[in-house]
C-alpha cells in the first residue's frame, strides 16, 4: 500500500477520495434505511 503514495498530497487525495465516495453511498443508504424503518408508521 505504501508504494502507492509518494507524497502526503498523494495520501490525502487517495483517502479523501475514498471517503467522499463512501459518504455519497452512506447518504443514499441512510435514506433507504429510513424508508425501511419508518415504512410501517401509522402515527
Amino acid at each position: 500500500m505504501e508504494n502507492l503514495f509518494y507524497t502526503l498530497q498523494d495520501f490525502y487525495t487517495h483517502t479523501k477520495g475514498v471517503t467522499y465516495v463512501l459518504m455519497v453511498g452512506i447518504l443514499v443508504s441512510i435514506a433507504f434505511f429510513w424508508k425501511f424503518l419508518a415504512g410501517n408508521d401509522d402515527d
Binding site: T15, L22, S29, F36, N40
Partner: protein, 390 residues
Amino acid sequence: MSDHAATNGRPLLTPFNIVAGIIVVVGLILTVLRFTGGLAATTNLDDYNPWGLWIGFDLLVGVALAAGGYVTSAACYIFGMKRFHSAVRPAVLTGFLGYALVVVALHYDVGRPWRLPYPFIMQQGTTSLLFEVGACVALYLTVLFLECTPVAFEWLGWKKARALAVKMTMVLTIFGVILSTLHQSSLGALFLIAPSKLHPLWYSGYLPVYFFVSSIIAGLSMVIFEGTLSHRAFHDKMDAVHLEERDGVVLGFAKAASLVLAGYFFIKVVGISADNNWHYLGTGYGAWFLVEMIGFVMLPSILYAVGRRDKNIPLIKWTAAWTVLGVIVNRFNVSMIAFNYHLPASDRYFPHWMEIAISVFIVTVGVLIFRWIVTRMPIFYEHPDYQDSH
C-alpha cells in the same frame, strides 16, 4: 427470625436476596481490604495499566448506560414527546444511581480518594479533559439528584417543596443535556492523548463523537432493558398509564436506537476511511473490530428496525439487552482490550478477581437501592395527590 419477616409481605429469604446478600458481604470485606491494603492488594493495576476494570466498566460503561436519563427527559420535555412521560422517572432514577455509583467506584480506583475534590479547589489546569469530566459528572449528578427530588417530596408529602422542584424541570433537563454532551464526549477524548497505545482501529480523532453517539444508543437501549426487568420484578407497582404507555415507549425508543446505531456504524466506517486503516481489518484485532461493528452495531440496528416495523416487542427487548452488551464490549475494547495492544502478553492487563467482585458488588448495591426506592416511591405510578399535574 422468620423468613417472611419482610416488607410488603414479601418473603425475605428469596434466591435474589440470598445471592445479593452474599455479594454485599464479600464486597464489604473487599472494600476493607482495598482501603487498608491499597490498590496493590486488590488489583492487577501497574504503571503500564493504571486504568483497569474500575475505569473501563464502573466509569465508562456506568456513565454510558446512565445516559437514559438525559435521553428520555430530553425526548419528553424538550422535544415534547409526552407519550414517553411514564419512562422519565425510572430513567432518571437509573441515571442518578448510575452516576452516584460511578463516583463511589472512583473512590476505589483513585489511589488517594480523599483528593477527589482537588480539581475544584487546588489546581489551575481547567483546560484538562479530566477536569472537564470531573466537573460535568459532579454537576450532572447534582442535576439528576434535583430531578429525582419531586419523587421523594411526593413520598414525604412535602407539597410546596415538590411544586418548587417541578418548576425547575425544564431548566434541569436543558442543563442535563448540555452537561451530558460535554462529558460523554470528553470520556472518549481522554484517549486522544494515547495515539500510540490504542489500536488504530479504535483510535480516531472522532473518539469524542463516537463516545457521545454511542451513549445515546446506550441510553435508549438501557431504558428498554431496564423497563423489561422492572416489568418482571415490579409489575404490581405499575399503574394503568405506565402499562398502557409501555409498548409505545419500547417501539419509539427502538426506532430511535435503530437510526442512531445506523448513524454510528456509518461514522465509524468514515473514521476508518479517513485514517486509511482498511489494512488493519485483515489482522486479529481487525476480526475483533468487525465482530464489534457487525455483531454489536449493524446487527442490532437491523433487528431494532425489523422489531419496530413488525411491532415485535420481544425481539426489541432481546435486541436492547444485546446492544447494552455491545456498549460494554466497546468500552472494554477502548479502555482495555485494544489499549496497550503492542505490549507483550506478560505485560497486558487482566483484572484481578477482587476487581471483578468489587464491580459486581457496586452494581448489586445499585440494584438494591433501585428496588428499595421503587417499592416505596412513585416511580412506576402517579402519586394519587398529583395525578394529571404534568
